[in-house]
Symmetry: C2
Subunit: 357 residues, 2 copies
């Protein structure tokens, strides 16, 4: 049980009397218990005046834990009746944004609470400010990712396909001390780089191709995520170089603009303006970045839609890209930690144009 | 667009005026469109009097389709307002059991419909009765699984670990013509067989070990799923043989009991009674089987909880198991198609005790 995190979450849950968290990862964040309930209900109830209660199917064994009450149920039990022993009919109940209709509709029919509201934000906001211990793990995860990038580059040679390269990535991460990858790696050659979510296929690398790696690993539960764009055998032509330099400038000036108090939308704007002024605005088709931590995509975007100021120890990606189907797709992505006066860029792999020989 | 499937679904949706399907796989089943919307809303609205409408974020390109209206929206648009152009305030709205609170709560707040009910069952029931074309693909998927089992067995040799075996499984499926595996294979040696959901680890096979494979592939979108339990180097001891024979008998008598009209719970009971009378009832810890098709687990269980009679062209697994931590875990699983007078067992890999040398 992480008492501080519970306090943080409840502080942020103004207007909510009872907060029923059902996302297994949010539950793990708060009480350190990892359960994958499949189609069964799993819920952690937080209230200000009482001990947290975990609602758990008896199929999932769990040892007693200080500070946590476990309310067990079996398949076929009346879950609403069980919940009603802990939630009062006159309370405002916060539920997770991911709570499914097959649970929510019966709760409403039962009259479990007075009102049902989206209660994910308090947990999301608490998760978005990382503790020292979390920052250490995120740094280590990104250091492994830096080292891995140098290894991935070596996999590129005459006749190799994207898929063949991608298949070797998990073993390299494990050798470097990561437990797993954080998402299916994007390995793209040539024209495929112009698809920001390209899945590695049987495309063979050709001389002059751009070679894009968007990769990440998990180290002790914390994710990394980085993108670099290389060139194979010979360097970029003039237009490719123009695109690369714009993306690099967008990345570096956006990173330079970050410090506690700056709005997320304004960081996005720094990068977007550079690319737009360079004439490639319509080819920068996605948000500048996303928050990251236990999950590779956590709540919070670096985009025009998020007007909030960043806070110390927010961690997110800065990943401008230009996807011109005629010329090149290019993305340069780092993870950063917001500090009082600036930011700490966790990735150290260089931004220079690099030619793989 | 599959007009027959739409008709089937609406016929089964009694009491529902408008059915809003949001599960991407159910949408694929009905209109053949595969979209992975991530965190964005995707919905297919079926009503008796009007053309189906697909609600789709503009980020996902889709060509015009005969018989389908596409209602596009962008991030930031008022989704409820868009939905309200197609759903009347006095209608009963069926929503998917998996619809998330972040969509359902705003719909309710907006007053989109008169009442919200779980509307998954009509689609689930329609999916549970397979068409001829689906049966052909399921048969082929299981034939590949039969052939693959013979190959997997050959991977067992002195010094090999569960993980090393499991890692070779995807390539074998592809060689045999499948596109993918349908779930992460269970490969378990020795005592690990007693955990029905064991994940392959670094355990090395030892003489006398039971060797369990629970594996499946996907062929043109349709899943297979089969389990066999072998022995390594020498045969089972007396108690192991007793367990194996009981499981085999439970499998075969349950399969022999199947025909259209028999209740799912009664099929489960045939297998469970045999194992219970043999003295191992407490070690048969799960349902006898699950429905299967586009997904490896579809709606419908062969268990005491499901009292419905089976219908022609239901497809499900029959997978009794005994998990005695002291002796052996053993499971024998086939897929069957219900017919008028019996069932067609789609797996042909033998049930005999087999010793891997």
């Amino acid at each position: 049980m992480n008492v501080n995190r519970i306090k943080n979450v409840l502080n942020k849950a103004q207007g909510i009397d009872a907060l029923l968290i059902s996302d297994p990862i949010a539950i793990y964040y708060i009480c350190g218990k990892k359960v994958e309930p499949g189609e069964r209900f799993l819920g952690l109830l937080l209230k200000r005046e009482t001990k947290p209660v975990l609602f758990l199917n008896i199929l999932f064994p769990m040892e007693e834990t200080e500070g946590l009450q476990i309310a067990k149920y079996a398949d076929g039990d009346d879950l609403c009746e069980l919940l009603s022993r802990y939630i009062r009919k006159d309370e405002v109940l916060g539920v997770d944004k991911t709570l499914q209709a097959r649970f929510l509709l019966p709760m409403q029919r039962y009259g479990l609470a007075k009102e049902y509201v989206d209660g994910s934000l308090p947990v999301d906001l608490s998760r978005s400010i990382k503790e020292e211990g979390e920052l250490e793990l995120l740094r280590k995860s990104s250091l492994i990712n830096d080292a891995a990038m140098a290894e991935f580059k070596k996999l590129i040679h005459e006749g190799v396909s994207e898929k063949e390269v991608a298949e070797q990535i998990p073993a390299i991460y494990k050798k470097l001390g990561a437990q797993d990858f954080s998402f299916g790696a994007i390995v793209a050659f040539g024209k495929n780089t112009a698809d920001p979510h390209h899945m590695p296929d049987d495309t063979i690398v050709k001389e002059g191709d751009a070679v894009l790696f968007d990769v990440g690993c998990i180290y002790n539960g914390y994710c990394s995520d980085m993108t670099r764009t290389f060139f194979y055998k010979h360097g970029p032509n003039e237009e490719q170089k123009k695109i690369y330099d714009l993306v690099r400038k967008a990345n570096e000036e956006a990173e330079a603009s970050i410090k506690a108090g700056v709005r997320l939308c304004d960081i996005d704007k720094v990068a977007r303006d550079i690319i737009t002024e360079g004439g490639y605005g319509k080819y920068f088709t996605h948000r500048l970045g996303h928050f990251i931590g236990i999950e590779v995509h956590e709540y919070g975007d670096v985009s025009a839609a998020f007007k909030d100021p960043v806070q110390e120890h927010n961690v997110f990606s800065i990943e401008p890209g230009i996807y011109d189907p005629e010329t090149l797709g290019c993305r340069i992505e780092d993870l950063v930690i917001v500090t009082k006066d600036g930011c700490e860029v966790m990735n150290h792999y260089p931004h220079d144009i690099e030619i793989i020989d």
